[in-house]
């Protein structure tokens, strides 16, 4: 007779399942192995504080448990952070918008879009010489890193040289390599940059948070012994990442990052600014828009990044404390620096003909795009510049001079469009589309799969072009593919934002059309990927080159600009459509003092590095 355990197969089966279940439940065990690093963080916070003073040790441990009223909770928009332990600010896969450059890494200067001025932060001043090829940076006295070491010229010189040595792989390195011949320390607070050629925009482009961020300085005493390409700069026991900001990293997870205030912050010690009011900052990724809006409706998020109008209205109905840049339509912060443009490949038939490009322009109804694609939350563009006051002033001059005809640009005239097309020899076929030599007039408009705003614009344009007889279609491409195709010129049309660059001076955006960047289709180009060429383009480029060497604000810039626009307008290599919008809601239940159009002390996007300034301006609600 067989033993009982063999007779009863169900018991054998049960034991097998039990073993499998044990193996499966053993799997979550690795989660706690991530825990020692994270558990160590709040415990180890006490360690650096102990070096300072026992009283502070108590304070900082408390901050991790700070109540909601002392905490500001921000939203991460750039997708889930795939590696929460990578704090290297230079590798291309790095994230800075999870709180890293908003709370820990401070910039040298902050460009304030509302005033057009630089706010000195870690730097006090950065002035060029007369020929614009030697820049002298004066650092603020008394700045120190969160581990107590002083922040001074050694760190700046080290960082710039490290970037140059590792160009072009690190972010920011090719810029430093291209422009900086050498960088010297004059004394602890003075650094001299010797440029390879005159550059009036050296401070603006690299150290002033022109758009989103800037080149971050790292401590020499930590980075001098590591390989900057593979160094992850994360070690809670050592207090890494070390920055100069008023907050230190407390805990990480793929969906949430917590920072606690460092009461030892240099700024309060030298009288630069008071300590910021919040004891704890959290950046969290909460998935789709519905959940994020639900969290803010419930008072669990103080700042959201870009949501749709529908979500905003639902949110405001639930939580009346939510404010946005404008109180009313368009609600959104308009504009974001990168205006939306309908871009054509100027090297393929028939779009290499400026008249055909103008025909497209007449077929497009921008008011309808604003109404349908944006639900009214933006303005149509007068120019491919973002509508910031310094640039608006230039556009006004071009309009006054008669070279930029706004009525013509904004004219929605399908009949005129058809006339132009027919004058080129096209005739309508039985499908209702234009045809010439047996080829149908078609246009494929590609868009980046992650950006709904541009897809909506493309969809409306497709309808408008179809209505006049062009077989237009829209296709989404994965981001990397879309960029690749752009670089190589393998596209017909796209809705993008690639004229981006200028925010307070014209050259950066104008240079994106410069023929010096021209490469044939099939070769990778850095700029002028629309492959605009021809005599007008060449003349335009000469004007732009001249403009590039003039100091910012030089009166000759305006003259050159008007002449350049004269040439550009007739050619229309790219069709400006709308200003970029970002609906940025803030909850005033716990914190007030957020930037709005009424209280426009600075521009609002809290995923940019100038958030340092905003954090200091906030007050607890009820104060």
């Amino acid at each position: 007779m067989k033993p009982y355990w063999q007779r009863s197969r169900i018991y054998l089966l049960a034991s097998v399942l039990l073993v499998m279940a044990m193996l499966l439940t053993a799997c979550p065990a690795p989660a706690p192995s991530g825990a020692p690093a994270e558990k160590a963080a709040p415990a180890e916070e006490a360690a650096p504080a102990e070096e300072a003073a026992p009283a502070e040790e108590v304070a900082m441990e408390d901050y991790i448990n700070a109540p909601r009223e002392d905490t500001i909770i921000f939203d991460i928009d750039g997708g889930r952070v795939t590696d929460p332990e990578n704090w290297n600010p230079y590798t291309p896969g790095r994230r800075l918008d999870q709180g890293y450059h908003q709370a820990i890494l401070e910039p040298l200067f902050i460009l304030n879009y509302q005033t057009g001025e630089f706010i000195p932060w870690l730097g006090e001043s950065m002035e060029p010489n007369e020929t614009l090829d030697v820049w002298t940076l004066k650092l603020r006295d008394g700045v120190h890193w969160s581990d107590g070491e002083p922040f001074n010229a050694d760190d700046v010189v080290f960082t710039v040289n490290m970037l140059k040595a590792n160009a072009p792989e690190l972010a920011g390195s090719s810029e430093m390599d291209r422009w900086v011949e050498s960088v010297e320390k004059v004394d602890d607070l003075t650094v001299v940059f010797n440029l390879t050629e005159p550059n009036p925009r050296f401070l603006l482009d690299h150290f002033g948070v022109k758009i989103w961020g800037s080149i971050n300085i790292v401590p020499e005493h930590i980075w001098k012994d590591v390989d900057p390409l593979t160094f992850k700069y994360y070690d809670p026991e050592k207090g890494w990442p070390v920055g100069t900001g008023p907050y230190k990293l407390a805990s990480v997870s793929p969906t949430e990052f917590t920072y606690v205030r460092d009461d030892n912050w240099w700024g309060a010690q030298v009288g630069f600014q008071d300590l910021p009011p919040a004891k704890k900052l959290i950046w969290t990724w909460a998935g789709p828009e519905e959940t994020r809006a639900a969290l803010m409706a419930d008072g669990q998020l103080d700042s959201l990044m870009d949501i749709t109008l529908g979500a905003l209205l639902a949110l405001k109905a639930r939580n009346p404390n939510v404010v946005t840049w404008f109180d009313d339509l368009p609600y959104a912060w308009v504009p974001d620096p990168c205006s939306r443009t309908f871009e054509l490949n100027n090297a393929i038939e028939p779009w290499n003909d400026p008249e055909m490009r103008w025909a497209l322009n007449y077929a497009i109804d921008r008011d309808q795009i604003v109404e349908i694609a944006y639900e009214g939350t933006t303005f149509k563009s007068r120019h491919f510049f973002p509508a910031y006051p310094p640039l608006d002033a230039l556009v006004d001059k071009a309009i006054e001079a008669g070279v930029w005809d706004l009525d013509q640009l904004w004219e929605h005239n399908p009949d005129k469009a058809k006339e132009i097309i027919e004058s080129k020899g096209y005739t309508l076929n039985s499908n209702g589309y234009y045809e010439k030599d047996g080829k149908e007039l078609s246009l494929e408009i590609t868009t980046h799969e992650a950006f709904i705003e541009k897809q909506r614009i493309a969809q409306v344009i497709v309808e408008q072009l179809q209505a006049i007889g062009i077989n237009a279609t829209n296709r989404n491409e994965a981001g990397g593919t879309w960029s690749e195709n752009f670089d190589f010129g393998r596209f017909e049309a796209r809705v993008g934002w690639q004229t981006c660059g200028s925010v307070n001076e014209p050259w950066a955006s104008l240079d994106t059309f410069n023929v010096r960047w021209l490469k044939p289709i099939g070769e990778r180009a850095n700029h002028n990927r629309w492959r605009w060429s021809g005599p007008a383009a060449e003349e335009y480029s000469k004007l732009v080159d001249e403009m590039g060497s003039l100091p910012l604000g030089d009166p000759r810039v305006e003259e050159l600009f008007v002449q350049a626009m004269d040439l550009w307008f007739d050619e229309l290599p790219v069709i400006p459509i709308t200003q970029a919008k970002k609906i940025i809601p803030f909850d005033t239940t716990y914190w007030t003092g957020w930037p709005t159009a009424e209280n426009d002390y600075i521009h609002p996007p809290t995923w940019w590095q100038h958030t340092h300034y905003i954090i200091h301006q906030l007050k607890k609600a009820g104060q």
């Binding site: 089966l13 706690p32 998935g287 981006c500």
Partner: protein
């Protein structure tokens, strides 16, 4: 054990290794066939954040060289096979210098925990419902109630997920809407953390269980009905055994076998995660990681995750094949 011969086991192991090799080769080839370049994707993300960058062409060329992407394909393949044999999955192309195995192992426990619990719960619930639906002696009111419990099966689980978030998190505020655990808790074997994980896990698990129960239920119901006509059932009734005993020991036990096979297969595949559930509930699992890998054309990440999937499924099937004779002595591999 009855039914297993040494030749069979050896042959079976050989098949296992062949499957893994074939799968690894296919996963090497396919991402490289798709358009798009991982380095360009990485640089385009940089550009999207910062507005514009200079010299993107030079950056791309330098990183392609560093990653060995500019070498001939067969050289890359050999390096890849060598790495897979040592389970060294290398650096992620899109999140350099993060290592693929670190990224996977931090996401894996969440996925395995979430999906194994969901799969097993849905297996148990679904089979129970299916068995009760198929058995003729079940009281009529139960049999009328059961089909309604399967109504939600036809709703896609991500929609049900959003509905659940709206109902339980937004309106009723009984459960948290997002995340794997509450804010400010330290992961580890401590009760507040575990309680929070369970609380945060209820809605995602529910959305998967409710929508996939139907699959198990229908299969089980079919098997139960088929087995009712068997001779041994008639004999059992004739012997006068209790109806519950006939139901469980004769009905369910014989019908469960194909379901267990399906369970093993689905457990093997859970390492792939459930992208949409993870996106809606901001759950830090493998599904979303794989999605990001695909969108960024991150060859090493895709290869790492899919290789794990292949390994998991092949191992699950291997174990199952070796265990089946234990479960059902009628199965024999002798020829």
């Amino acid at each position: 054990m009855a039914g297993l011969t040494p030749q069979y086991v050896l042959r079976r192991l050989g098949m296992f290794l062949l499957t893994i090799w074939l799968g690894a080769t296919i996963i090497f080839i396919i991402p490289r066939l798709a358009p798009g370049d991982p380095v360009a994707a990485m640089v385009s993300r940089l550009t999207a954040q910062a507005g514009y960058i200079e010299n993107s062409a030079e950056i791309i060329a330098a990183w392609r060289e560093r990653f060995g992407l500019d070498g001939p394909l067969w050289v890359q393949y050999l390096a890849y096979m060598r790495n897979m044999l040592t389970l060294d999955m290398g650096y992620s192309l899109s999140s350099f210098p993060s290592r693929v195995d670190e990224m996977i192992f931090s996401a894996l426990p969440w996925t395995v925990g979430l999906l194994s619990v969901s799969t097993i719960l849905s297996f148990l619930a679904g089979n129970a419902i299916g068995a009760l639906m198929g058995w003729p002696r079940v009281p009529r009111w139960i049999r009328a109630l059961l089909p309604t419990s399967l109504t939600f099966t036809s709703i896609p689980f991500f929609m049900l997920g959003i509905l659940l978030v709206y109902l339980f998190a937004y309106e009723l505020r009984w459960l948290p809407p997002t995340g794997a655990y509450g804010r400010g808790l330290t992961p580890g074997w401590n009760w507040p953390f575990i309680k929070s994980v369970i609380e945060h896990g209820i809605l995602p698990v529910l959305s998967i269980v409710v929508t996939s129960m139907g699959f198990w239920a229908l299969g089980m119901r079919g098997m139960i009905i088929t087995n009712q006509g068997e001779d041994y059932m008639i004999l059992a009734e004739a012997k006068g055994l209790r109806p519950s005993r006939i139901f469980l020991r004769y009905g369910v036990r014989n019908s469960i076998l194909p379901q267990v096979t399906a369970l093993a297969l689905s457990l093997g595949g859970i390492a792939g995660g459930s992208t949409l559930v993870e996106y809606i509930f901001a759950y830090p699992g493998m599904g979303y990681l794989l999605y990001q890998g695909i969108v960024n054309t991150d060859y090493t990440l895709i290869q790492g995750i899919v290789f794990m999937l292949i390994l998991g499924t092949a191992t699950a099937v291997l174990i199952l094949d070796l265990l089946l004779p234990v479960l059902d002595p009628r199965i024999s591999y002798e020829r």
